[in-house]
């Protein structure tokens, strides 16, 4: 499984990319592969304040609906509206165009997240 080295990871299989004022969140390659064909994505609205570990989005495959958790606390600043018409982006580009939302973290330094190596170690094989 692909686990890019420039990201932070949650045990619940979200990734976080820290940028200047905000952070982008998506689900990992492992997560998209486990879910398989994503057919519907429900995202938080910009302006919503979220706490770390809160279920704030849902990714639905043919099989099941899965909760997506906020990896850190903060305020949602953008949701990836491209997923409304093309939810399969989550499968095809989990670390690229298939990102889920951006948020402005409460804390400049996120805590409680895993390094790429530590996250990879939690995966099977």
């Amino acid at each position: 499984m692909n686990t890019p080295s420039d990201l932070l990871y949650a045990k619940s299989h979200e990734w976080l990319r820290l940028e200047k004022d905000s952070a982008t969140v998506g689900i990992t390659d492992h997560a998209q592969s486990e879910l398989s064909d994503v057919v519907y994505v429900e995202l938080p609205k910009p302006g919503r304040k979220v706490t770390a570990g809160e279920a704030i989005a849902t990714v639905e495959s043919v099989k099941a609906a899965s909760d997506i958790y906020a990896p850190v606390g903060g305020e949602i600043v953008e949701a990836n509206t491209a997923l409304t018409s093309d939810p399969g982006l989550v499968n095809r580009e989990p670390y690229g165009q298939g990102w889920l939302f951006r948020l402005k973290p409460d804390q400049p330094k996120p805590t409680g997240l895993l390094s790429p190596t530590d996250y990879a170690a939690t995966l099977p094989h």
């Binding site: 398989s36 064909d37 057919v39 519907y40 429900e42 043919v62 099941a64 609906a65």
Partner: protein, 368 residues
């Protein structure tokens, strides 16, 4: 069964890289190449499913027919040799213990193909029925089975079955017959759970892997794919077929499930639950299973979501899935009667939000 049983085809699944999950006490493939690809292959070409978990129970002896006639909701006397019917084993309240396929192999030999999750309970009910001159045989884990389904399946199977036997190739709808396939004796029944033309192939444990590999090889050029439980569920729901444990249960009668066609009350023939079914056929039921269809871009309906008509909760979704063929959600729901007519607007609730659906025939794809 407390331990997880392994399919006789487990090594085949492993070498195909299947993703395995526990299901009804069995470790079974949920997908190989991907649910959508497998679903599409079965609709457009063919799919091969492991159904070794499905229980095979024989009713043997001169008391077999009278016993089955006193236990099952459809009338087994309608069957001639080599014919099959969909039927139910019911409790005293008319609720479904199991829905199953009954085949008449001979006047003193019947085959019941039952749900894995109900296999042991079925055997117990049948054996304890006190019926005379009949032996019910077939514990879990002693047989192999696979389903070859899809528009290309008659062609694939016909190429494989030897031409020198007396039974027609392939067997006609709902018929069952013995054949030789890849050097082994098999029973082939023309039935399935996908809404496509197709066959279920029953054989013994050791022949299972040989036949599985031979069928996959024979269908390769036709686009045949091995398919898992994931696509098996989306395919069956598009065809409007019920899943035991969700759309059928000991609390739901076949009449409520909209399956009264498979309950035969014509003969004087007492069987468990019959008085309840007679009453329901005459006066109607308080609940009825209906189809629901959603719209593209809406969250898909799922098992257990509540269903509303305006502010009133009128039922619950028993099975739901985003239909790969149709591109929108489809569901079966158990609704308080009088059930709204086809085309009427209802809503289901998910994550605190209402999603519009229309009442629809339970068959979501055209009949073959």
């Amino acid at each position: 069964m407390s331990a997880i049983a392994s399919s006789p085809l487990a090594l085949c699944h492993q070498s195909l890289g299947a993703r395995m999950i526990p299901f009804a006490g069995w470790n079974l493939p949920v997908e190989y190449s991907g649910l959508l690809a497998e679903h599409k292959a079965t609709r457009q070409a063919a799919g091969l499913f492991d159904i070794s978990h499905m229980g095979q129970v024989r009713a043997l002896g001169k008391g077999a027919l009278p016993a089955l006639a006193s236990l099952l909701a459809n009338d087994p006397a309608k069957l001639r040799d080599g014919e099959g019917q969909y039927t139910f084993l019911l409790n005293q309240h008319g609720g479904v213990i199991d829905d199953l396929f009954l085949y008449r192999l001979g006047s003193e030999e019947y085959l019941l193909v039952v749900n894995a999750s109900r296999h042991l309970e079925d055997l117990q009910v049948l054996t304890n029925s006190g019926c005379k001159d009949v032996l019910f045989q077939g514990a879990p884990g002693h047989t192999a089975g696979m389903a070859l389904q899809g528009p290309k399946s008659p062609e694939i199977l016909s190429r494989m079955l030897k031409a020198d036997h007396t039974n027609p190739v392939p067997p006609a709808r709902n018929r069952i017959a013995k054949y030789r396939l890849a050097g082994h004796e098999v029973l082939v029944a023309a039935t399935g759970y996908t809404g496509e033309d197709g066959f279920e192939i029953f054989t013994d444990l050791s022949a299972g892997p040989v036949i599985w590999n031979a069928v996959l090889e024979a269908g390769k050029t036709d686009g045949l794919l091995p398919c898992g439980l994931g696509s098996r569920d989306s395919l069956r729901l598009e065809a409007g077929f019920p899943l035991n444990g969700q759309d059928l249960s000991p609390e739901i009668t076949p009449i409520e499930a909209g399956l009264g066609f498979f309950v035969d009350l014509n003969q004087i023939r007492p069987f468990p639950g019959r008085p309840v079914l007679e009453e329901q056929k005459k006066n109607g039921t308080r609940r009825l299973c209906v189809g629901l269809k959603g719209q593209p871009g809406q969250p898909p309906p799922r098992h257990d979501y509540p269903v509303f008509q305006g502010d009133r909760k009128i039922g619950v979704i028993t099975s739901g899935v985003p239909s790969p063929t149709l591109g929108h959600g489809i569901a079966l729901a158990l609704i308080t009667t009088p059930a709204p007519a086809c085309g009427q607007d209802l809503e289901f609730e998910v994550r605190g939000r209402r999603v519009p659906v229309k009442v629809s025939p339970r068959r979501f794809i055209p009949k073959k």
